[in-house]
Symmetry: C2
Subunit: 180 residues, 2 copies
């Protein structure tokens, strides 16, 4: 897992993949599956919808930190498994054979098996809408990984896998942020 320039981290989130979000409550690590996220700024700032219905929420509010890990298609059953059980009675890292890796900036762990990881600080919680606003402070990507296709949840129990890539960089040149 190599460091990635922070000003490029939004490109991991902008396509809207399902993500795994890790937290640490002081004693133990947990993971939740989230597909309600968006980019809010290139700096990078992200928004995520979550609330008390997720067991991780208490740790997220208390520690004000998390890691957004980007899984790929080969991890689909772990992604669904993590999303359908609770950290209240399950060690999800153990159950789903995922490996926590110590990060640099936050206590929540990176997930070794994922394509990329973004260490984040909670910079705001918009209580009214259950929106948590996150600042990315470290980003890492596993360039050695062959499988790079991410998953997009439809929300009805089906998922779409990344297909072909189309390039419109020339047309969009005027709109691209520096260094991207």
């Amino acid at each position: 897992m190599e460091s990635m320039q922070l000003n490029q981290a939004f490109t991991l989130m902008e396509p809207g993949p399902v993500v795994l979000v890790t937290t640490r409550d002081g004693k133990k690590d947990n993971i939740m599956t989230i597909s309600w996220t968006m980019v809010v700024d290139f700096t990078p700032v992200f928004a995520m919808t979550t609330g008390p219905w997720n067991y991780s929420y208490t740790a997220l509010r208390k520690s004000r930190e998390c890691v957004i890990a980007i899984p790929t298609v080969d991890l689909i059953d772990q992604v669904v498994g993590v999303g359908t059980c609770s950290g209240a009675d399950t060690d999800k890292f153990e159950k789903f054979m995922l490996t926590p890796v110590k990060g640099k900036h936050v206590k929540a762990p990176l997930i070794k098996e994922c394509l990329a990881n973004i260490e984040c600080k909670v910079i705001d919680v918009v209580e009214k809408h259950n929106i948590v606003v996150l600042q990315g402070i470290g980003a890492y990507i596993d360039h050695s990984r062959k499988e790079k296709r991410t998953l997009h949840a439809i929300g009805d129990g089906t998922f779409v896998v990344d297909g072909r890539k189309l390039n419109r960089r020339k047309m969009m040149q005027s709109k691209l942020p520096d260094g991207v």
Copy 2:
């Protein structure tokens, strides 16, 4: 374009496609390309990051209405074109040969060429983060359309097209909202 049950409209947005957002300022229609969106609730409520840097923002704030239109891969050049010029000096419906269709609940138009359209009311603006919160109040889908693959912006001028679909409905049964 047939009506779609409102409680299923979130399934159009959850996978994170690039969308076109239409507004009407009282006199003329406009369109912007947005990929910073997320689902906030099944009801459906959506969040979208936008601000004064988008010409449409004034009409959005004033009318407190918009339509989220979901384009497919065959419309990529219109999507990029709409996103790289301004409604200040361009009639984007005319320039990109898109057809405005009168909706039922809002004055902003649906886009005929898109796979689906969601009529929305602005229910809140979180000024601090430039997050606009939208309530979907009408949803439509074009079942007759052959091309159904949507686009996901990477943010660097490239796009990923929807690939194959994977089904995990059985594993996720306990988590799916009623009627989805």
